[in-house]
Protein backbone atom coordinates (compact mmCIF):
# COMPACT_ATOMS: atom_id res chain seq x y z
CA UNK A 1 0.00 0.00 0.00
CA UNK A 2 1.17 3.51 -0.84
CA UNK A 3 4.59 2.28 -1.85
CA UNK A 4 4.84 5.07 -4.36
CA UNK A 5 4.81 7.88 -1.86
CA UNK A 6 7.69 10.29 -1.79
CA UNK A 7 9.51 11.40 1.33
CA UNK A 8 8.53 14.77 2.69
CA UNK A 9 11.58 16.60 1.46
CA UNK A 10 11.74 15.23 -2.06
CA UNK A 11 9.98 16.76 -5.00
CA UNK A 12 6.72 15.12 -5.95
CA UNK A 13 7.07 12.13 -8.24
CA UNK A 14 3.83 12.74 -10.08
CA UNK A 15 4.09 9.87 -12.52
CA UNK A 16 4.45 7.48 -9.62
CA UNK A 17 1.64 9.09 -7.62
CA UNK A 18 -0.73 8.83 -10.55
CA UNK A 19 -0.50 5.06 -10.27
CA UNK A 20 -2.36 5.35 -6.98
CA UNK A 21 -5.44 6.72 -8.78
CA UNK A 22 -7.06 4.01 -10.91
CA UNK A 23 -9.66 6.30 -12.49
CA UNK A 24 -6.97 8.43 -14.12
CA UNK A 25 -5.88 5.56 -16.32
CA UNK A 26 -8.57 5.24 -18.94
CA UNK A 27 -9.48 6.75 -22.22
CA UNK A 28 -12.34 9.07 -23.03
CA UNK A 29 -13.57 9.20 -26.64
CA UNK A 30 -10.45 7.31 -27.74
CA UNK A 31 -8.07 9.78 -26.14
CA UNK A 32 -6.20 9.33 -22.87
CA UNK A 33 -8.34 10.92 -20.18
CA UNK A 34 -7.04 14.30 -19.03
CA UNK A 35 -8.99 14.96 -15.88
CA UNK A 36 -9.08 18.68 -15.14
CA UNK A 37 -12.33 18.92 -13.20
CA UNK A 38 -10.92 18.48 -9.72
CA UNK A 39 -12.71 21.47 -8.23
CA UNK A 40 -15.96 19.61 -8.96
CA UNK A 41 -14.65 16.40 -7.47
CA UNK A 42 -11.31 14.64 -7.19
CA UNK A 43 -10.35 11.06 -8.06
CA UNK A 44 -9.74 8.60 -5.24
CA UNK A 45 -6.51 6.79 -4.46
CA UNK A 46 -6.56 2.99 -4.26
CA UNK A 47 -5.99 3.16 -0.50
CA UNK A 48 -9.32 4.98 -0.05
CA UNK A 49 -11.14 2.51 -2.27
CA UNK A 50 -9.53 -0.43 -0.44
CA UNK A 51 -10.39 1.01 2.96
CA UNK A 52 -14.07 1.37 2.09
CA UNK A 53 -14.11 -2.11 0.67
CA UNK A 54 -12.49 -3.50 3.79
CA UNK A 55 -15.08 -1.75 5.92
CA UNK A 56 -17.95 -3.35 4.01
CA UNK A 57 -16.23 -6.73 3.86
CA UNK A 58 -15.30 -7.07 7.50
CA UNK A 59 -16.45 -4.22 9.74
CA UNK A 60 -19.90 -3.19 8.52
CA UNK A 61 -22.28 -2.54 11.39
CA UNK A 62 -24.16 0.38 12.86
CA UNK A 63 -22.24 2.68 15.16
CA UNK A 64 -22.92 3.70 18.76
CA UNK A 65 -25.74 1.20 18.98
CA UNK A 66 -24.63 -2.32 19.54
CA UNK A 67 -23.01 -4.29 22.30
CA UNK A 68 -21.70 -6.75 19.78
CA UNK A 69 -18.30 -7.29 18.27
CA UNK A 70 -18.89 -5.79 14.84
CA UNK A 71 -20.66 -2.74 16.13
CA UNK A 72 -17.73 -2.06 18.41
CA UNK A 73 -15.37 -2.42 15.46
CA UNK A 74 -17.37 0.01 13.34
CA UNK A 75 -17.74 2.48 16.20
CA UNK A 76 -14.01 2.38 16.90
CA UNK A 77 -13.22 2.96 13.23
CA UNK A 78 -15.74 5.79 12.97
CA UNK A 79 -14.57 7.55 16.11
CA UNK A 80 -10.95 6.90 15.18
CA UNK A 81 -11.58 8.70 11.91
CA UNK A 82 -12.95 11.65 13.86
CA UNK A 83 -9.72 11.81 15.87
CA UNK A 84 -7.56 11.61 12.74
CA UNK A 85 -9.47 14.40 11.05
CA UNK A 86 -9.53 16.53 14.19
CA UNK A 87 -5.80 16.27 14.47
CA UNK A 88 -5.33 16.90 10.73
CA UNK A 89 -7.01 20.30 11.07
CA UNK A 90 -5.47 20.74 14.54
CA UNK A 91 -8.79 20.98 16.40
CA UNK A 92 -8.48 21.08 20.20
CA UNK A 93 -10.86 18.20 20.62
CA UNK A 94 -12.41 15.53 18.37
CA UNK A 95 -15.83 16.64 19.59
CA UNK A 96 -15.35 19.76 17.52
CA UNK A 97 -15.57 17.66 14.36
CA UNK A 98 -19.13 17.03 13.17
CA UNK A 99 -19.69 14.75 10.21
CA UNK A 100 -22.18 16.01 7.64
CA UNK A 101 -23.07 15.21 4.04
CA UNK A 102 -20.69 17.85 2.73
CA UNK A 103 -19.83 21.54 2.76
CA UNK A 104 -23.37 22.41 1.77
CA UNK A 105 -24.88 20.67 4.77
CA UNK A 106 -22.22 22.06 7.09
CA UNK A 107 -23.10 25.61 6.07
CA UNK A 108 -26.82 24.92 6.29
CA UNK A 109 -26.34 23.54 9.77
CA UNK A 110 -24.64 26.71 10.95
CA UNK A 111 -27.13 28.97 9.17
CA UNK A 112 -29.98 27.07 10.73
CA UNK A 113 -28.69 26.51 14.26
CA UNK A 114 -26.43 29.48 14.82
CA UNK A 115 -28.76 31.70 12.81
CA UNK A 116 -31.74 30.73 14.99
CA UNK A 117 -30.91 33.55 17.38
CA UNK A 118 -30.59 36.27 14.72
CA UNK A 119 -33.03 39.17 14.90
CA UNK A 120 -34.13 41.81 12.41
CA UNK A 121 -31.34 44.30 11.82
CA UNK A 122 -28.63 41.67 12.18
CA UNK A 123 -26.33 41.29 9.21
CA UNK A 124 -24.66 38.35 7.53
CA UNK A 125 -21.50 39.21 5.61
CA UNK A 126 -20.39 37.11 2.64
CA UNK A 127 -18.42 37.87 -0.52
CA UNK A 128 -19.27 38.09 -4.20
CA UNK A 129 -17.13 35.04 -4.98
CA UNK A 130 -19.10 32.61 -2.81
CA UNK A 131 -20.40 29.30 -4.10
CA UNK A 132 -24.21 29.17 -4.10
CA UNK A 133 -24.00 26.91 -1.06
CA UNK A 134 -22.48 29.79 0.91
CA UNK A 135 -25.09 32.23 -0.38
CA UNK A 136 -28.48 30.57 -0.46
CA UNK A 137 -28.55 29.23 3.14
CA UNK A 138 -27.85 32.77 4.35
CA UNK A 139 -30.45 34.27 2.04
CA UNK A 140 -32.99 31.80 3.39
CA UNK A 141 -31.97 32.65 6.94
CA UNK A 142 -32.21 36.39 6.30
CA UNK A 143 -35.66 35.92 4.86
CA UNK A 144 -36.77 33.89 7.89
CA UNK A 145 -35.27 36.16 10.51
CA UNK A 146 -35.55 39.56 8.82
CA UNK A 147 -31.79 40.00 8.63
CA UNK A 148 -29.73 41.63 5.90
CA UNK A 149 -27.21 39.97 3.63
CA UNK A 150 -24.16 42.14 2.95
CA UNK A 151 -21.77 41.28 0.16
CA UNK A 152 -18.08 42.15 -0.09
CA UNK A 153 -17.25 43.14 -3.69
CA UNK A 154 -14.31 41.69 -5.62
CA UNK A 155 -11.82 43.42 -7.90
CA UNK A 156 -11.28 42.81 -11.61
CA UNK A 157 -8.48 40.43 -10.66
CA UNK A 158 -10.94 38.45 -8.55
CA UNK A 159 -9.66 39.49 -5.13
CA UNK A 160 -11.68 40.67 -2.19
CA UNK A 161 -11.55 44.47 -2.01
CA UNK A 162 -10.24 44.71 1.50
CA UNK A 163 -11.25 48.30 2.20
CA UNK A 164 -14.82 47.39 1.26
CA UNK A 165 -14.68 44.43 3.60
CA UNK A 166 -13.53 46.71 6.42
CA UNK A 167 -16.32 49.13 5.61
CA UNK A 168 -19.01 46.44 5.61
CA UNK A 169 -17.84 44.75 8.79
CA UNK A 170 -19.58 46.21 11.85
CA UNK A 171 -21.14 45.44 15.21
CA UNK A 172 -24.30 44.54 13.32
CA UNK A 173 -22.47 41.70 11.57
CA UNK A 174 -23.56 38.46 13.24
CA UNK A 175 -21.34 36.24 11.15
CA UNK A 176 -18.74 36.54 8.41
CA UNK A 177 -18.99 33.59 6.00
CA UNK A 178 -16.35 33.49 3.27
CA UNK A 179 -14.52 30.97 1.18
CA UNK A 180 -10.87 30.30 1.80
CA UNK A 181 -10.38 29.54 -1.90
CA UNK A 182 -12.70 30.37 -4.76
CA UNK A 183 -13.90 27.41 -6.81
CA UNK A 184 -14.53 29.55 -9.89
CA UNK A 185 -11.42 31.75 -9.88
CA UNK A 186 -8.88 29.91 -7.76
CA UNK A 187 -8.32 33.00 -5.60
CA UNK A 188 -6.93 32.33 -2.13
CA UNK A 189 -8.39 34.90 0.24
CA UNK A 190 -6.50 36.65 3.07
CA UNK A 191 -8.44 34.58 5.56
CA UNK A 192 -6.13 35.01 8.53
CA UNK A 193 -6.30 38.77 8.37
CA UNK A 194 -10.07 38.76 7.79
CA UNK A 195 -10.60 36.56 10.83
CA UNK A 196 -8.44 38.83 12.95
CA UNK A 197 -10.34 41.93 11.85
CA UNK A 198 -13.71 40.26 12.34
CA UNK A 199 -12.77 39.05 15.81
CA UNK A 200 -11.65 42.55 16.75
CA UNK A 201 -15.31 43.49 16.42
CA UNK A 202 -16.50 40.29 18.09
CA UNK A 203 -17.78 38.79 14.82
CA UNK A 204 -17.51 35.01 14.47
CA UNK A 205 -16.21 33.62 11.19
CA UNK A 206 -17.23 30.64 9.07
CA UNK A 207 -14.71 29.51 6.48
CA UNK A 208 -15.84 27.56 3.44
CA UNK A 209 -12.71 25.49 2.94
CA UNK A 210 -14.13 23.15 0.29
CA UNK A 211 -11.47 24.24 -2.20
CA UNK A 212 -8.70 24.71 0.33
CA UNK A 213 -8.24 21.22 1.78
CA UNK A 214 -7.53 19.62 -1.65
CA UNK A 215 -4.44 21.81 -1.88
CA UNK A 216 -3.05 21.60 1.63
CA UNK A 217 -3.84 21.11 5.30
CA UNK A 218 -5.40 23.76 7.52
CA UNK A 219 -4.85 24.68 11.12
CA UNK A 220 -8.04 25.85 12.78
CA UNK A 221 -6.29 26.92 15.95
CA UNK A 222 -3.74 29.04 14.17
CA UNK A 223 -6.47 30.55 11.98
CA UNK A 224 -8.74 30.88 14.99
CA UNK A 225 -11.82 30.45 12.75
CA UNK A 226 -15.07 29.68 14.53
CA UNK A 227 -16.47 27.30 11.92
CA UNK A 228 -14.75 25.48 9.07
CA UNK A 229 -16.62 23.52 6.40
CA UNK A 230 -15.30 21.08 3.83
CA UNK A 231 -16.23 18.12 1.64
CA UNK A 232 -14.52 14.74 1.52
CA UNK A 233 -15.06 14.20 -2.20
CA UNK A 234 -13.03 17.25 -3.13
CA UNK A 235 -10.03 16.05 -1.13
CA UNK A 236 -9.65 12.57 -2.62
CA UNK A 237 -12.16 10.97 -0.24
CA UNK A 238 -15.57 9.46 -1.00
CA UNK A 239 -18.73 11.40 -1.84
CA UNK A 240 -21.54 11.99 0.60
CA UNK A 241 -19.51 13.06 3.59
CA UNK A 242 -18.18 16.35 4.85
CA UNK A 243 -17.07 18.09 7.98
CA UNK A 244 -18.24 20.93 10.11
CA UNK A 245 -15.58 22.04 12.53
CA UNK A 246 -16.80 24.40 15.23
CA UNK A 247 -15.25 25.74 18.39
CA UNK A 248 -16.52 23.64 21.24
CA UNK A 249 -18.15 26.36 23.34
CA UNK A 250 -19.87 27.74 20.27
CA UNK A 251 -21.19 24.34 19.19
CA UNK A 252 -22.36 23.63 22.71
CA UNK A 253 -24.43 26.80 22.72
CA UNK A 254 -26.27 25.90 19.50
CA UNK A 255 -29.69 24.26 19.25
CA UNK A 256 -29.74 20.91 17.37
CA UNK A 257 -30.14 20.89 13.60
CA UNK A 258 -32.02 17.74 12.69
CA UNK A 259 -33.84 15.48 15.12
CA UNK A 260 -33.62 11.71 15.16
CA UNK A 261 -31.67 8.76 16.47
CA UNK A 262 -28.20 9.19 17.94
CA UNK A 263 -28.64 12.90 18.65
CA UNK A 264 -30.74 12.35 21.75
CA UNK A 265 -30.01 11.50 25.35
CA UNK A 266 -33.54 10.47 26.21
CA UNK A 267 -36.85 10.76 24.45
CA UNK A 268 -40.32 10.86 25.94
CA UNK A 269 -43.52 12.44 24.73
CA UNK A 270 -43.20 15.02 27.48
CA UNK A 271 -39.84 16.15 26.19
CA UNK A 272 -36.52 15.10 24.83
CA UNK A 273 -33.03 15.84 26.03
CA UNK A 274 -30.20 15.99 23.59
CA UNK A 275 -26.96 14.11 23.39
CA UNK A 276 -23.57 15.71 23.83
CA UNK A 277 -21.22 16.90 21.15
CA UNK A 278 -20.59 15.77 18.49
CA UNK A 279 -23.53 13.32 18.38
CA UNK A 280 -26.05 16.07 19.00
CA UNK A 281 -25.48 17.23 15.44
CA UNK A 282 -25.34 13.81 13.84
CA UNK A 283 -28.94 12.64 13.76
CA UNK A 284 -29.55 9.24 12.21
CA UNK A 285 -27.13 6.61 10.99
CA UNK A 286 -24.14 8.49 9.62
CA UNK A 287 -22.18 7.77 6.45
CA UNK A 288 -19.86 5.36 8.27
CA UNK A 289 -18.04 4.06 5.20
CA UNK A 290 -17.67 7.61 3.93
CA UNK A 291 -16.15 8.87 7.16
CA UNK A 292 -13.71 5.97 7.28
CA UNK A 293 -12.87 6.58 3.62
CA UNK A 294 -12.22 10.25 4.37
CA UNK A 295 -9.80 9.21 7.07
CA UNK A 296 -7.95 7.09 4.50
CA UNK A 297 -7.78 10.12 2.18
CA UNK A 298 -6.32 12.26 4.96
CA UNK A 299 -3.74 9.61 5.73
CA UNK A 300 -2.85 9.45 2.06
CA UNK A 301 -2.37 13.22 1.88
CA UNK A 302 -0.21 13.17 5.00
CA UNK A 303 2.03 10.54 3.45
CA UNK A 304 2.41 12.34 0.14
CA UNK A 305 3.63 15.37 2.08
CA UNK A 306 1.71 18.64 2.10
CA UNK A 307 4.90 20.64 1.51
CA UNK A 308 5.75 18.75 -1.66
CA UNK A 309 2.18 19.11 -2.92
CA UNK A 310 2.15 22.81 -2.32
CA UNK A 311 5.43 23.55 -4.06
CA UNK A 312 4.54 21.35 -7.03
CA UNK A 313 1.12 22.99 -7.34
CA UNK A 314 2.68 26.44 -7.30
CA UNK A 315 4.80 25.46 -10.31
CA UNK A 316 1.80 23.90 -11.99
CA UNK A 317 -0.24 27.07 -11.46
CA UNK A 318 2.49 29.23 -12.99
CA UNK A 319 2.97 26.93 -15.92
CA UNK A 320 -0.74 26.57 -16.64
CA UNK A 321 -1.32 30.31 -16.36
CA UNK A 322 1.51 31.09 -18.77
CA UNK A 323 0.63 28.33 -21.21
CA UNK A 324 -3.08 29.03 -21.40
CA UNK A 325 -2.88 32.81 -21.44
CA UNK A 326 -0.27 32.78 -24.22
CA UNK A 327 -2.87 31.35 -26.60
CA UNK A 328 -4.13 34.12 -28.81
CA UNK A 329 -7.62 35.22 -27.80
CA UNK A 330 -7.68 33.46 -24.44
CA UNK A 331 -8.59 35.45 -21.38
CA UNK A 332 -8.14 34.05 -17.89
CA UNK A 333 -10.86 35.14 -15.50
CA UNK A 334 -9.36 35.45 -12.03
CA UNK A 335 -5.79 36.63 -11.90
CA UNK A 336 -5.30 37.01 -8.18
CA UNK A 337 -1.79 37.07 -6.79
CA UNK A 338 -2.47 34.07 -4.56
CA UNK A 339 -4.07 31.24 -6.48
CA UNK A 340 -4.47 27.49 -6.56
CA UNK A 341 -4.23 25.77 -9.97
CA UNK A 342 -7.73 26.70 -11.09
CA UNK A 343 -7.94 28.31 -14.52
CA UNK A 344 -11.24 29.85 -15.55
CA UNK A 345 -11.00 31.03 -19.11
CA UNK A 346 -12.77 32.38 -22.15
CA UNK A 347 -11.64 31.85 -25.73
CA UNK A 348 -12.50 34.80 -27.96
CA UNK A 349 -16.27 34.97 -28.17
CA UNK A 350 -16.63 31.19 -28.21
CA UNK A 351 -19.31 29.95 -25.85
CA UNK A 352 -17.70 28.01 -22.97
CA UNK A 353 -20.17 25.19 -23.59
CA UNK A 354 -18.94 24.77 -27.17
CA UNK A 355 -15.34 24.91 -26.04
CA UNK A 356 -15.97 22.33 -23.31
CA UNK A 357 -17.72 20.07 -25.82
CA UNK A 358 -14.73 20.02 -28.18
CA UNK A 359 -12.32 19.52 -25.28
CA UNK A 360 -14.44 16.61 -24.10
CA UNK A 361 -14.17 15.02 -27.54
CA UNK A 362 -10.40 15.22 -27.08
CA UNK A 363 -10.59 13.41 -23.75
CA UNK A 364 -10.11 16.57 -21.69
CA UNK A 365 -12.52 17.01 -18.79
CA UNK A 366 -13.21 20.62 -17.86
CA UNK A 367 -16.30 22.19 -16.43
CA UNK A 368 -18.26 24.86 -18.24
CA UNK A 369 -20.91 27.23 -17.00
CA UNK A 370 -21.32 29.41 -13.96
CA UNK A 371 -19.72 26.97 -11.49
CA UNK A 372 -22.49 27.61 -8.95
CA UNK A 373 -21.30 31.21 -8.66
CA UNK A 374 -23.86 33.14 -10.68
CA UNK A 375 -23.43 36.43 -8.79
CA UNK A 376 -19.69 36.25 -9.46
CA UNK A 377 -20.22 35.63 -13.18
CA UNK A 378 -22.64 38.55 -13.16
CA UNK A 379 -19.93 40.68 -11.54
CA UNK A 380 -17.62 39.89 -14.45
CA UNK A 381 -20.42 40.39 -16.97
CA UNK A 382 -20.12 36.89 -18.40
CA UNK A 383 -22.55 33.95 -18.46
CA UNK A 384 -19.84 31.53 -17.48
CA UNK A 385 -16.40 30.20 -18.25
CA UNK A 386 -14.62 27.00 -19.07
CA UNK A 387 -12.67 25.93 -16.02
CA UNK A 388 -9.67 23.69 -15.76
CA UNK A 389 -9.03 22.81 -12.13
CA UNK A 390 -5.91 20.84 -11.38
CA UNK A 391 -4.79 18.58 -8.58
CA UNK A 392 -1.32 17.42 -7.58
CA UNK A 393 -1.70 14.39 -9.83
CA UNK A 394 -2.00 16.53 -12.95
CA UNK A 395 1.08 16.92 -15.09
CA UNK A 396 2.71 19.62 -17.17
CA UNK A 397 2.00 17.38 -20.16
CA UNK A 398 -1.70 17.54 -19.38
CA UNK A 399 -1.50 21.32 -19.35
CA UNK A 400 0.05 21.10 -22.83
CA UNK A 401 -2.78 18.78 -23.92
CA UNK A 402 -5.28 21.35 -22.68
CA UNK A 403 -3.51 24.09 -24.61
CA UNK A 404 -3.54 21.99 -27.79
CA UNK A 405 -7.20 21.25 -27.19
CA UNK A 406 -8.03 24.93 -26.82
CA UNK A 407 -6.23 25.66 -30.09
CA UNK A 408 -8.19 22.95 -31.83
CA UNK A 409 -11.48 24.20 -30.36
CA UNK A 410 -10.57 27.66 -31.54
CA UNK A 411 -9.96 26.54 -35.08
CA UNK A 412 -13.25 24.68 -35.17
CA UNK A 413 -15.42 27.24 -33.44
CA UNK A 414 -14.01 30.65 -34.20
CA UNK A 415 -15.82 32.23 -37.07
Amino acid sequence: MDTTLTPATAALNVELLRKDFPALHQSAHDHPLVYLDNAATTQKPQSVIDRIRRYYESENSNVHRGVHFLSQLATDAYEGARRTIASYINASDPREVIFTRGTTESINLVASSYGASFVPGDEVLISTMEHHSNIVPWQMLCERRGCTLKVIPVSDEGEIIYEEFERLLSERTKILAVCHTSNALGTVNPIQRMIRDAHALGVPVLIDAAQALPHGPMDVRELDCDFLCFSSHKMFGPTGVGVLYGKQDLLESLPPYQGGGDMIESVSFEGTTYNELPHRFEAGTPNIAGVIGLEAAVKYLQKVSPAAISSYEAELTDYATKTISSIDGVRIVGTAKRKVPVMSFLVGDIHPYDCGTILDRLGIAVRTGHHCTQPLMHRFGIPGTARASLAFYNTFGEVDALADGIRKAKSMLMR
Binding site: H29, H351, Y353, D354, T357, I358, D360, R361, L413, R415
Partner: protein, 143 residues
Protein backbone atom coordinates in the same frame (compact mmCIF):
# COMPACT_ATOMS: atom_id res chain seq x y z
CA UNK B 1 -51.84 8.49 -38.53
CA UNK B 2 -49.05 7.67 -40.93
CA UNK B 3 -45.67 9.29 -40.72
CA UNK B 4 -45.09 12.39 -42.85
CA UNK B 5 -43.11 11.41 -45.93
CA UNK B 6 -41.57 14.83 -46.39
CA UNK B 7 -40.23 14.86 -42.85
CA UNK B 8 -38.84 11.38 -43.37
CA UNK B 9 -37.33 12.43 -46.67
CA UNK B 10 -35.53 15.39 -45.15
CA UNK B 11 -34.28 13.21 -42.34
CA UNK B 12 -32.82 10.80 -44.92
CA UNK B 13 -31.04 13.66 -46.63
CA UNK B 14 -29.41 14.70 -43.40
CA UNK B 15 -28.39 11.14 -42.64
CA UNK B 16 -26.82 10.93 -46.09
CA UNK B 17 -24.92 14.13 -45.62
CA UNK B 18 -23.56 13.08 -42.25
CA UNK B 19 -22.54 9.68 -43.53
CA UNK B 20 -19.89 11.39 -45.66
CA UNK B 21 -17.81 12.09 -42.57
CA UNK B 22 -15.95 9.30 -40.94
CA UNK B 23 -14.79 11.16 -37.85
CA UNK B 24 -16.41 13.21 -35.15
CA UNK B 25 -14.53 16.38 -36.08
CA UNK B 26 -16.00 16.42 -39.55
CA UNK B 27 -19.49 15.87 -38.18
CA UNK B 28 -19.10 18.65 -35.64
CA UNK B 29 -17.68 21.04 -38.19
CA UNK B 30 -20.57 20.30 -40.52
CA UNK B 31 -23.04 20.74 -37.69
CA UNK B 32 -21.52 24.11 -36.87
CA UNK B 33 -21.75 25.09 -40.52
CA UNK B 34 -25.42 24.14 -40.67
CA UNK B 35 -26.01 26.41 -37.70
CA UNK B 36 -25.37 29.41 -39.91
CA UNK B 37 -28.36 28.44 -42.10
CA UNK B 38 -30.76 28.66 -39.20
CA UNK B 39 -33.55 31.21 -39.77
CA UNK B 40 -32.78 33.58 -36.94
CA UNK B 41 -35.29 34.75 -34.40
CA UNK B 42 -35.49 38.51 -34.14
CA UNK B 43 -33.85 39.99 -31.07
CA UNK B 44 -37.14 41.32 -29.71
CA UNK B 45 -38.38 37.74 -29.39
CA UNK B 46 -35.34 36.66 -27.36
CA UNK B 47 -37.48 36.73 -24.25
CA UNK B 48 -38.29 34.26 -21.52
CA UNK B 49 -41.41 33.30 -23.41
CA UNK B 50 -39.39 31.81 -26.24
CA UNK B 51 -36.47 30.58 -24.22
CA UNK B 52 -35.92 26.85 -23.91
CA UNK B 53 -35.25 25.77 -20.38
CA UNK B 54 -32.79 23.06 -19.48
CA UNK B 55 -29.97 24.06 -21.83
CA UNK B 56 -26.49 25.10 -20.68
CA UNK B 57 -26.43 27.72 -23.38
CA UNK B 58 -29.21 30.16 -24.15
CA UNK B 59 -31.65 28.89 -26.73
CA UNK B 60 -34.66 30.68 -28.14
CA UNK B 61 -37.19 29.13 -30.42
CA UNK B 62 -40.26 30.83 -31.82
CA UNK B 63 -42.80 28.77 -33.72
CA UNK B 64 -45.17 30.57 -36.04
CA UNK B 65 -48.43 29.06 -37.27
CA UNK B 66 -49.40 30.28 -40.76
CA UNK B 67 -51.86 28.80 -43.25
CA UNK B 68 -52.05 25.56 -41.37
CA UNK B 69 -48.31 25.02 -41.16
CA UNK B 70 -45.65 25.70 -38.54
CA UNK B 71 -42.51 27.72 -39.21
CA UNK B 72 -39.64 28.17 -36.83
CA UNK B 73 -37.12 30.84 -36.04
CA UNK B 74 -34.47 30.23 -33.43
CA UNK B 75 -31.03 31.12 -32.14
CA UNK B 76 -28.46 30.16 -29.55
CA UNK B 77 -25.31 31.76 -28.23
CA UNK B 78 -23.48 28.44 -28.60
CA UNK B 79 -22.70 27.34 -32.14
CA UNK B 80 -22.92 23.58 -31.62
CA UNK B 81 -26.32 24.05 -30.03
CA UNK B 82 -27.29 26.26 -32.93
CA UNK B 83 -26.33 23.49 -35.33
CA UNK B 84 -28.55 21.02 -33.51
CA UNK B 85 -31.52 23.38 -33.65
CA UNK B 86 -30.82 24.02 -37.32
CA UNK B 87 -31.14 20.28 -37.95
CA UNK B 88 -34.47 20.12 -36.13
CA UNK B 89 -35.78 23.18 -37.90
CA UNK B 90 -34.67 21.90 -41.29
CA UNK B 91 -36.60 18.70 -40.76
CA UNK B 92 -39.76 20.23 -39.32
CA UNK B 93 -40.10 23.68 -40.83
CA UNK B 94 -43.29 24.28 -42.78
CA UNK B 95 -44.88 20.97 -41.83
CA UNK B 96 -48.38 20.29 -40.56
CA UNK B 97 -48.66 20.59 -36.79
CA UNK B 98 -50.05 17.08 -36.47
CA UNK B 99 -47.07 15.67 -38.36
CA UNK B 100 -44.63 17.64 -36.24
CA UNK B 101 -46.26 16.51 -33.02
CA UNK B 102 -45.96 12.87 -33.96
CA UNK B 103 -42.68 12.78 -35.91
CA UNK B 104 -40.44 10.14 -34.33
CA UNK B 105 -37.29 12.10 -35.34
CA UNK B 106 -35.09 9.09 -35.89
CA UNK B 107 -32.33 10.99 -37.66
CA UNK B 108 -30.66 12.10 -34.45
CA UNK B 109 -29.77 8.48 -33.75
CA UNK B 110 -29.10 7.73 -37.38
CA UNK B 111 -26.49 10.43 -37.97
CA UNK B 112 -24.42 8.97 -35.19
CA UNK B 113 -24.52 12.20 -33.21
CA UNK B 114 -26.31 10.81 -30.24
CA UNK B 115 -23.35 8.88 -28.93
CA UNK B 116 -21.26 12.01 -29.38
CA UNK B 117 -23.54 14.20 -27.35
CA UNK B 118 -22.95 14.62 -23.65
CA UNK B 119 -25.86 14.03 -21.32
CA UNK B 120 -26.38 17.76 -20.78
CA UNK B 121 -26.62 18.21 -24.56
CA UNK B 122 -29.04 15.30 -24.81
CA UNK B 123 -31.18 16.90 -22.13
CA UNK B 124 -31.06 20.20 -23.94
CA UNK B 125 -32.01 18.59 -27.22
CA UNK B 126 -34.80 16.68 -25.51
CA UNK B 127 -36.25 19.87 -24.09
CA UNK B 128 -36.13 21.53 -27.51
CA UNK B 129 -38.01 18.61 -29.02
CA UNK B 130 -40.48 18.57 -26.15
CA UNK B 131 -41.20 22.27 -26.61
CA UNK B 132 -41.64 21.89 -30.38
CA UNK B 133 -43.99 18.95 -29.96
CA UNK B 134 -46.02 20.61 -27.28
CA UNK B 135 -46.46 23.71 -29.43
CA UNK B 136 -47.46 21.57 -32.39
CA UNK B 137 -49.99 19.65 -30.30
CA UNK B 138 -51.48 22.87 -28.96
CA UNK B 139 -52.14 24.28 -32.44
CA UNK B 140 -53.39 20.89 -33.59
CA UNK B 141 -55.92 20.98 -30.79
CA UNK B 142 -56.99 24.49 -31.77
CA UNK B 143 -57.33 23.61 -35.44
Amino acid sequence: MSESTSIRERERQIVDEFSMFDDWMGRYEYLIELGSDLPLIEDRYKTDEFKIKGCQSQVWLRPDYRNGRVYFRADSDAVITKGLIALLVRVLDGELPADIATAPLRFIDEIGMKEHLSSTRKNGLASMIRQIRSYASSVTAEA
